[in-house]
């Protein structure tokens, strides 16, 4: 809605004693709750929650929502984030009451629709990735990474290979890769990239050995480049007794064209909230299914959705080698529904086309910008490309952050910035297949205009954004003296 007032108070600032936004039905059974509970178990004072009317609540969140950029606003070219349009039919499907109101502990006979969906989604994701079995349990990409690495660790342990505790991670990798390895109790060894932006084969060889548990790889990598030595890499890692882990966050760059399973990967996680069009929710929920090759199947978390001979779907807990559970119940089912609907809508051709157009669009951006920005790896990319400001721009003290902020004044969201770490001042641009040529052109035109400004009138770029509800925020103060809840606000 139209934003006429720039400032929206916090819920506690809107609270008026005595207001209520929701009224329960009158209690239809007798008694006083306190009579049933020991007094020492009771809270001394009511929880000091804010008090608002229904209209207060609706307006508050509506006004807040109007401070957000979202995929319906325009291109959301965050590299590595695959911000594609979220089809509304998926939302419809997930909100069907027979899905949304289904308790996870009902008898499986009452959940056959949900289980069928999960079973089939497991199969589809296995086919899409070229793996043999899939679990839907992990709640996000990093959770999938953790799950996959825990499976790898369990596998090595099961073979008595107790020394295999090292995980090789390229220096271009996403931060969750090393972090997940650490949480899984493994040791991270960083592998350098070579001049092509790909895994340095010599570096890899040097790091491989009897302690190698796995190599984690994103392919296309975070530069949007395909690791074309992948067959050789897989051979090397396997020969060294390690396994290959595929970070599937970038699957949009290869889907239907080639599959991690065929590249030699043993484990893969997917981000349904990227490749499979489920919305990102302002930071979640996601869903990070993990696929494995046959030899790792016994280690999958319990339960696995299975199909009995009599044709009933059920939850299989009888998996003695399982790593156990990585969360309650069966995964972010509501997210899985959306991904399932997406796969059914597009079919095999449609999914492949997604990849082709994601790649076409990224290369178009690269082609349009290459005369105006620097590209460390100036060649055909997959689903994203990584630009840098030129030397003249930097000489005028215009940095990546400034460009990102200035883009907002032109009406566009910024790319991912300062990542991957191996590209200084990186602008990591991922347009996805759902953007229009007009939007891509508008975005490129804005970046080109900003470059001009950076050379001619750098201050306007350095002071950007000018027209947003708030302007540049003081991160340093925020971190120095963290104010993490409204009680701490003082006079802010």
């Amino acid at each position: 809605m139209i934003r006429l007032r720039d400032y929206e108070p916090l819920l506690n600032e809107l609270s008026v004693p005595g207001r209520r936004g929701y009224y329960l039905p009158e209690c239809d059974v007798p008694g006083k709750a306190e009579d049933y509970l020991p007094s020492e178990a009771l809270r001394k004072e009511d929880a000091p929650l804010p008090e608002l009317s229904e209209v207060d609540v609706v307006r508050h969140f509506s006004r807040l929502s109007d401070l957000n950029y979202c995929i319906e606003t325009g291109i959301y070219p965050l590299g590595s984030c695959t911000m594609k349009y979220n089809p509304k039919i998926n939302e419809y499907a997930a909100s069907l009451p027979e899905f949304a109101n289904l308790h996870p502990m009902v008898p499986v006979s009452a959940a056959q629709g949900a289980l069928e969906l999960m079973y089939k989604l497991q199969k589809y994701l296995a086919e899409i990735t070229g793996m043999d079995a899939v679990t839907l349990q992990p709640a996000a990409g990093a959770h999938g990474e953790y799950t996959g690495l825990a499976i790898i660790a369990a596998y090595h342990r099961s073979r008595g290979d107790h020394d295999r505790v090292e995980v090789l991670v390229p220096d271009s990798a996403h931060g969750t890769n090393p972090a997940s390895a650490a949480v899984a109790g493994l040791k991270v060894i960083e592998i350098p990239s070579d001049s092509r932006g790909l895994v340095d084969l010599e570096g890899l060889k040097a790091a491989l050995g009897p302690r190698t548990a796995a190599l984690m790889l994103t392919n296309p990598n975070t530069l949007g480049l395909f690791e074309s030595d992948i067959v050789e890499i897989a051979r090397l890692v396997h020969e060294a007794g390690g396994l290959l882990y595929y970070d599937g966050a970038n699957l949009n760059g290869t889907m239907g064209v080639c599959r991690p399973g065929d590249m030699g990967f043993d484990v893969v996680h997917l981000n349904l909230h990227k490749t499979f069009s489920t919305p990102h929710g302002g930071g979640g929920p996601g869903s990070g299914p993990v696929g494995v090759k046959k030899h790792l199947e016994p280690f999958l978390p319990v339960p696995v959705v299975a199909l009995s001979e009599s044709g009933e779907y059920y939850l299989d807990y009888d998996r003695p080698q399982s790593i156990g559970r990585v969360r309650t119940f069966y995964g972010n089912f509501g997210v899985c529904v959306k991904a399932y609907a997406y796969i059914r809508r597009l079919g095999p051709e449609g999914l492949k086309r997604v990849c082709e157009y994601a790649v076409l669009h990224a290369n178009y951006i690269w082609a349009r910008l290459r005369e105006h920005y620097r590209f460390r790896y100036d060649r055909i990319c997959k689903h994203e490309c990584v630009a840098m400001p030129t030397k003249e721009m930097m000489d005028n003290d215009v940095h990546t952050k400034d460009i990102a902020k200035r883009l907002m004044d032109y009406g566009y969201h910024a790319p991912t910035i300062y990542f991957p770490l191996i590209v200084p001042e990186a602008l990591m641009i991922e347009p996805t297949e759902t953007e229009t040529l007009q939007e891509l052109d508008g975005f490129c035109d804005a970046l080109i205009a900003i470059k001009k400004e950076a050379l001619e009138n750098p201050q306007v770029v350095k002071d950007a954004p000018h027209n947003t509800p708030v302007r540049r925020l003081d991160d340093v103060a925020a971190a120095k003296n963290p104010i993490l809840n409204w009680r701490k606000l003082g006079n802010l």
């Binding site: 929701y22 807040l64 308790h103 949900a114 069928e116 650490a182 910024a414």
Partner: protein
């Protein structure tokens, strides 16, 4: 092409700007040998209308039962405005707020979530959300080890079995020892806890309140015991219960975690749910996951940013406090809207109705000849019953045939309570439904 706007003509234009002939040329760097030379073996595409019909058909294969099962997921009355507000794409289709100037909506909502979690629990800091209650509990276990530099965590056997499973999974990797504290009459045996703490090698003590069996624990005492032994007191709470029960802050818990599904999230067959992690201020830099902080912009205006990111994997990589990146922001927003709608009085009322309705059901069911309670202590909204005439499997199935999800079999989780069946009653159940359940149960036993 569905979901792809680019037309053939535009495709040609783009290819020519790039300087290649056809889309395949863009994949030239992929070695021939690993290319997929066939279409993926997936069902053929459906139009939107067909997808709609298909999804409805799938959904209809689920049976709608009147729900008397809790076990960590609760059917609740959800104010209509919660899903309606959440359906705004401004809220659900935004990314993690990497550019705060165009993400103040998300940032302020999550800041409000953090604040509400503090108000609710009486704790000092709360994170911007975790995957679910179980992973939140596992993160709390890891936190306690990091903070105390010890490697043993005690977990009550009355904690949700799936939570214990997840804690164990995470502990395995980290080489943390998990020891179970025994139960007595459905509650954590505090005498045993004291013994387990004697060696002072314990990092944290985890109790759930109300516990998985529905019983109310002596949290204050347990936390005191933990503190005396130099361990952190970790509470797993049910946020709704805090409408009447003492919050973790009151009984001095160091870390308090919980499952936030009850705060306005649909059951959705087990997810997405919401992990809540709160702690004392002094642990803030050990907290896993995202935190939103308040600050000012260059014009002096208040605004919100992601902060203390140095704990996170974007910056510290393998040295981060955890690997969590995408979390459950939308679920946290649901909880924020839910609590804003309920408010102080509303939350209290929900908790009270849970107590009253579950006790009404308890009276009704235990007045059926042959049905006896398994435990005798006070409970919040869940309770275990048993009967000599019926195995839990028969009860569960028999009631399902009559239209109820109820009588969860506790035997697999607690062989020592063989024959126990768990019931939950929330404010979403009416007296008439409870009476109908009792009648159905009576029928099964007759």
């Amino acid at each position: 092409m569905p979901y792809i706007p680019t037309t053939p003509e535009e495709t040609r234009r783009m290819l020519s700007v790039i300087g290649v002939e056809k889309i395949e040329d863009l994949f030239a760097d992929i070695p021939e040998e690993i290319r997929l030379k066939r279409p993926m073996d997936l069902p053929k595409p459906m139009s939107e209308a067909e997808v709609k019909r298909h999804m409805e058909e799938l959904a209809n294969k689920n049976k709608v039962l009147i729900n008397f099962i809790g076990a960590g997921a609760y059917e609740r009355l959800i104010p209509t405005i919660v899903p309606y507000i959440l359906s705004r794409w401004e809220i659900y289709s935004a990314y993690t707020p990497y550019q705060p100037e165009v993400s103040q909506g998300t940032l302020q909502m999550i800041f409000e979530f953090q604040s509400l979690m503090c108000e609710l629990t009486g704790m000092e800091v709360a994170t911007a959300s975790h995957y679910d209650g179980a992973t939140a509990a596992a993160e709390a276990a890891l936190m306690s080890c990091a903070d105390t530099r010890k490697h043993k965590v005690l977990v009550s056997r009355a904690v949700h079995p799936q939570y214990r499973d997840v804690i164990r999974t995470y502990a395995t990797g980290q080489r943390i020892e998990i020891v179970e504290i025994p139960i007595k009459d459905g509650r954590t045996d505090l005498a045993e806890l004291e013994k387990l703490l004697a060696a002072k090698d314990v990092a944290g003590v985890i109790l759930q309140n109300p516990n998985f069996l529905g019983q109310i624990e002596s949290m204050a005492e347990a936390v005191q015991l933990a503190h005396k032994a130099g361990a952190l007191g970790i509470a797993v709470f049910d946020p709704i219960s805090l409408g009447v029960l003492a919050p973790p802050g009151e009984y001095d818990a160091d870390i308090a975690v919980g499952e936030g599904q009850s705060l306005g999230l649909p059951l959705s067959y087990g997810g997405p749910y919401l992990g809540i992690v709160t702690s004392k201020e002094r642990l803030v830099r050990r907290l896993p996951g995202r935190l939103i902080g308040a600050t000012r912009d260059v014009d002096g205006k208040r605004g919100f940013v992601m902060t203390l990111a140095t704990r996170e994997q974007h910056i510290r990589r393998e040295k981060a406090t955890s690997n969590i990146c995408t979390n459950e922001a939308l679920c946290a927003t649901a909880a924020t809207i839910y609590l804003a709608a309920l408010g102080k009085e509303g939350l209290k009322e929900v908790a009270r109705q849970c107590v009253l309705k579950s006790h009404y059901a308890y009276e009704k069911l235990t007045s059926i000849p042959g049905v006896t309670p398994v435990f005798t202590g006070p409970f919040f909204c869940e309770f275990a019953l048993k009967t000599d005439k019926l195995t839990p499997k028969e009860g569960y199935k028999g009631l399902a045939d009559k239209g109820f999800a109820a009588a969860l079999d506790l035997t697999p989780y607690y062989p020592e309570y063989e024959g126990a069946m768990l019931f939950a009653v929330t404010e979403a159940r009416t007296k008439a439904e409870i009476d109908a359940l009792a009648a159905a149960m009576g029928g099964l036993l007759a």
